[in-house]
């Protein structure tokens, strides 16, 4: 029998056993790492087990009501009904403060674990959600990119063991940011549903049915439609579920997480980190930020969900001795218009703040809050920090990766993480 491409690689050695279904995730992973090495891509392996958690705030978060320029009179003039009163703001410094529902972030700030990057954006915003989301995720300013920056990173981080939990997406769809030409990212919305059911009538615990199933995927012709995607998905699912459930019982949350899917998702990420499953990149989305009308209550609830959830997550990791290994970064496709609209809401805007959380971060405000008087033709903020410089910082200074290779250019760095 000819040696097939579906060889199992274990401890760096090929293991081929006749009649056995061999998980090609391993060979594929190794293959892609080699291919990249050949092409001279230098996505360095970080020395330590560092993890990056990326939180997407979908819909366009109102940055001005999140990190509030509470001493700027223009803010109160432009937002007669929506402005947060100075007395309610949780101050960070003499100029800026947090939304009153973000007590969790204030505690992280006081403990020295929160950085804010102000005025983040990019040139020629079209004010389209979808183009903006594509640009933030693929870095293709035309909005036609198909490979995500984290996908490139994850593909480059594959090691000889091909750990399936290099990256994990919480949700029912893999974010464009994580999509790559070579690597599948496990995607799940709950731990319980992340396993294959077994027919109780099968007295072998489903082993032979699973074997037959994987064989169907293994032998699906390569030239048939979606062959690579289908096969990689099946094997990725099988491997990652197995690995996840081996350890599922050894984690106990050290804090009580808030209710709701966002905190539930963070808990899954904490479990994977605490159990040392080799997670390097985690991704989770909180949606609903497109507040064109009746913004006050909706936005307050959202930033509370964000801050309470991440505070619980950080505390949980700290109590498990893992806080040093994790950095969290938030992003949103755009901020919102400076002037409020007639429906007690705000329309699509441009620049907005990003948050970076972790024991390793330098507390502080980085970048420069955009002027509220020197606006663009649409009444929007002029960005002061290129979003790619924030990405470059976490890539270079946290993940130990080459920002130039992942981002395809040099965009500078910010000092919320120390240069190593």
């Amino acid at each position: 029998m000819a040696l097939s491409r579906r060889a199992l690689i274990k401890d760096g050695m090929l293991v081929v056993s006749a009649g056995m279904v061999m998980p090609s995730v391993f060979s594929r992973a190794l293959l892609s790492a080699r291919a990249q090495a050949r092409e001279g891509v230098r996505l360095a392996q970080a020395a330590s087990e560092r993890t990056l958690i990326v939180v997407q705030l979908a819909g366009g978060n109102d940055g001005l009501n999140t990190v509030i320029p509470y001493t700027d009179t223009h803010y109160y003039q432009m937002r007669p009904t929506l402005a947060i009163k100075e007395a309610q703001v949780l101050p960070l410094d003499q100029r800026l403060g947090l939304h009153p529902e973000m007590a969790g972030f204030k505690k992280l700030w006081d403990a020295g674990h929160l950085a804010v990057v102000e005025g983040v954006g990019y040139p020629n915003q079209s004010l389209s959600h979808f183009q903006a989301m594509d640009i933030w995720q693929t870095l293709d300013l035309s909005g036609n990119g198909r490979e995500g920056w984290l996908g490139k990173l994850v593909a480059g981080l594959v090691d000889q063991e091909g750990h399936p939990f290099k990256a994990l997406e919480i949700g029912s769809q893999t974010a464009l940011a994580l999509s790559s030409l070579t690597t599948q990212v496990p995607t799940l919305s709950s731990l319980n549903s992340y396993r294959l059911s077994v027919d109780p009538a099968d007295h072998d615990g489903g082993a032979s049915r699973l074997q037959a199933l994987l064989k169907l995927y293994n032998s699906y012709p390569r030239t048939a439609p979606y062959a690579a995607l289908l096969e990689a998905t099946a094997l990725d699912a099988q491997q990652s579920a197995q690995r996840l459930h081996q350890v599922a019982n050894s984690y106990k949350p050290a804090v009580t997480y808030p209710q709701g899917p966002f905190a539930e998702g963070l808990k899954i990420l904490a479990e994977v980190i605490v159990n040392d499953l080799g997670l390097r990149v985690g991704y989770i989305t909180l949606g609903g930020f497109d507040t064109h009308a009746n913004q006050e209550e909706t936005h307050a609830q959202l930033v509370k969900t964000l801050a309470d959830g991440l505070y619980a997550f950080y505390t949980d990791l700290a109590l498990h001795g893992k806080a040093d290994q994790v950095v969290v970064m938030t992003w949103s496709e755009f901020g919102r218009r400076v002037e409020e609209n007639g429906g007690l809401g705000t329309d699509h805007g441009t620049a907005a703040p990003m948050f970076i959380i972790g024991s390793a971060v330098n507390r502080g405000i980085f970048g420069e809050p955009p002027s509220l008087t020197n606006l663009d033709d649409n009444g929007n903020l002029k960005y002061t920090v290129d979003f790619r410089s924030v990405y470059a910082t976490v890539l270079e200074r946290w993940m130990g990766a080459s920002a130039r290779d992942v981002l395809g250019g040099s965009f500078g760095t910010q000092n919320f993480l120390a240069a190593s």
């Binding site: 004010l127 030239t223 497109d290």
Partner: protein
């Protein structure tokens, strides 16, 4: 695409590297330039990335296979009708397939389009008997999913689903639980006007109660019009990014002002309409919502925009201009009639081409409803909503105003979590059905008797005929048969074929599970 045909997959790993794996990122491992190219091409062609999805479609095997099967009349008919009913509907069981096959392709298309001539009372009666509470999102979802499963007008439901993904709203933002029913009102509107003119559909959705709330047009005032609806109407519903400016957004918003929602209906209030002169997409005057819709439906970009959405959803992704031209012509020549556009689409050579065949992944709704419908399940479908949600699609709750990304690029539907849910759905559907409480498994023994299925081979062929258009390669059919005939340990129920031989229930049921779990069945 042509490259795929000539590309030969190398054996991996190359023999030289079998015994001593190299450090994966070592520069010393760099291969000479000549060895680099094929690997890159492999990654590009067989890449699992979304952008590459189109490249692996219509590979040489499929093309030859299609041509081969097209030369053998009956089998080609079966394949084409199966394709039609999956794309223009949700698949079909053996009886329904036979009915359409007897009509022939073009009469089958007529029957799908002229749905008014097909009675659907039985479906309505069955739905009514369930006494669903249409103020509850779960029941709303069940109501629609079961319509899709039981209807005799499959294209009407499919078209409504298409519109729901384009002119979309979510129950999460229609005014709170008291007004969840606004989603059903919107759904009924989309169904009633699914094949109407684009102008009528746009006018209706503009003043639809759910949409007025979802995209905030109801909040628009004379002096400060809300931009939300105006922007998405242009970007996502009619002409697309690049055909308008921010000024068109604000001017369009002013022109659209005046509509408001009250309870379950909407009304126009001239006092809240901005009656100044507006400059919108090159037109000036005291424009109102009717002008905006007229200008957009007649905009040169509109038929292309709409044709691209329809073609990607019903035929294949990344269509060429040439692919879209007949749809655009039909739009222009029919006064923007969607029925005429759909007729052009379904009768186009592209729709019946090898390139279209199995060129999209089934959406969660197509997958869940498809299996339920084809296998003729009779239970109350209580578990359908939660399964489609776990698969990544909650009806009446799209991820955002852009609808489901999978509608445009179907590879977005598939990842490890949604794949496992698909398989678990199949497992449950076969073992206990999807009804509440009662275990109501598919009765394989009576099915075998009723259809006089003689043997394991005949069993696989019987199901492959309507679930996979009979298109299951020989070696893969053998895999299912050999699973079915493999001995099982432990005592259990058995199933007896017409040839008198018995096999363990778990094996027989397992073979059907494998067929529905197969790569082939994930495709539409």
């Amino acid at each position: 695409m042509e490259e795929a045909a000539s590309y030969e997959e190398p054996h991996w790993p190359p023999s030289a590297e079998q015994s001593e794996p190299q450090p994966t990122t070592s520069a010393a491992n760099a291969a000479p330039a000549s060895a680099r190219l094929p690997r890159r091409r492999l990654l590009g062609l067989a890449g699992i990335g979304l952008g590459a999805a189109g490249l692996v479609v219509g590979g040489v095997t499929l093309e030859q296979f299609w041509q081969h099967s097209h030369s053998t009349g009956a089998q080609a008919d079966q394949q084409l009708i199966g394709h039609l009913l999956r794309r223009a509907g949700f698949g079909a069981g053996p009886e329904e397939l036979a009915l359409y096959r007897n009509l022939g392709f073009s009469a089958a298309v007529d029957r799908l389009l002229n749905y008014q001539q097909v009675p659907d009372d039985e479906m309505e009666q069955r739905l009514a008997a369930l006494k669903l509470n249409l103020d509850r999102p779960q029941d709303q979802q069940r109501w629609w999913l079961l319509r899709m499963a039981w209807t005799q007008r499959p294209l009407l439901e499919k078209m409504t689903l298409f519109w729901h993904g384009v002119l979309t709203s979510s129950f999460r933002k229609v005014g709170g639980p008291r007004f969840y029913r606004r989603m059903i009102i919107q759904n009924q509107f989309l169904r009633e006007h699914a094949f109407d003119t684009f102008d009528s559909i746009l006018l209706g959705i503009t003043r639809d109660p759910a949409m007025l709330f979802y995209l905030d047009l109801t909040k628009s005032t004379r002096n400060i019009p809300n931009e939300n609806y105006a922007r998405e109407l242009m970007e996502l519903f009619t002409i697309g990014l690049g055909h308008y400016t921010q000024q068109d957004v604000t001017e369009g918003a002013a022109a659209l002002s005046g509509w408001h929602v009250r309870g379950f209906s909407s009304y126009y209030n001239p006092a809240t309409h901005s009656d100044r002169i507006k400059h919108f997409l090159g037109h000036s005057g005291n424009l109102d919502y009717r002008d905006v819709i007229r200008i957009l439906a007649n905009h040169p970009a509109a038929p292309w925009f709409l044709a691209r959405k329809l073609f990607s959803f019903f035929v294949y992704e990344n269509p060429s201009e040439e692919d879209l031209q007949p749809l655009v012509t039909a739009y222009q020549q029919s006064n923007h009639n969607i029925g005429a556009v759909m007729r052009a689409l379904l009768l186009s050579p592209q729709f019946a081409s090898a390139k279209a065949y199995r060129s999209r992944l089934k959406s969660p709704v197509e997958f869940a409803v498809g299996a339920y419908r084809a296998l003729g399940l009779q239970d109350d479908g209580s578990l359908l909503p939660q399964f489609t949600t776990l698969m990544g699609q909650t009806l009446f709750d799209p991820p955002n105003v852009g609808g489901w990304p999978g509608d445009k690029v179907s590879a977005f539907w598939l990842n490890s979590g949604t794949w496992m849910t698909r398989l678990n759905y199949v497992d449950l559907l076969l073992r206990r059905g999807l009804g509440r409480g009662v275990v109501h498994p598919l009765n394989l023994q009576s099915l075998i008797e009723k259809n006089r299925i003689a043997s394991p081979e005949a069993f696989v062929d019987y199901f492959a005929a309507f679930l996979l258009d009979g298109q299951l390669a020989g070696d893969r059919r053998d895999q299912l048969v050999s699973y079915l005939t493999m001995p099982a340990t432990g005592r259990q129920e058995s199933v007896t074929f017409a040839n008198g031989k018995s096999y363990p229930l778990s094996r027989v049921r397992g073979a059907l599970y494998l067929l529905l779990a197969s790569p082939e069945y994930q495709l539409n």
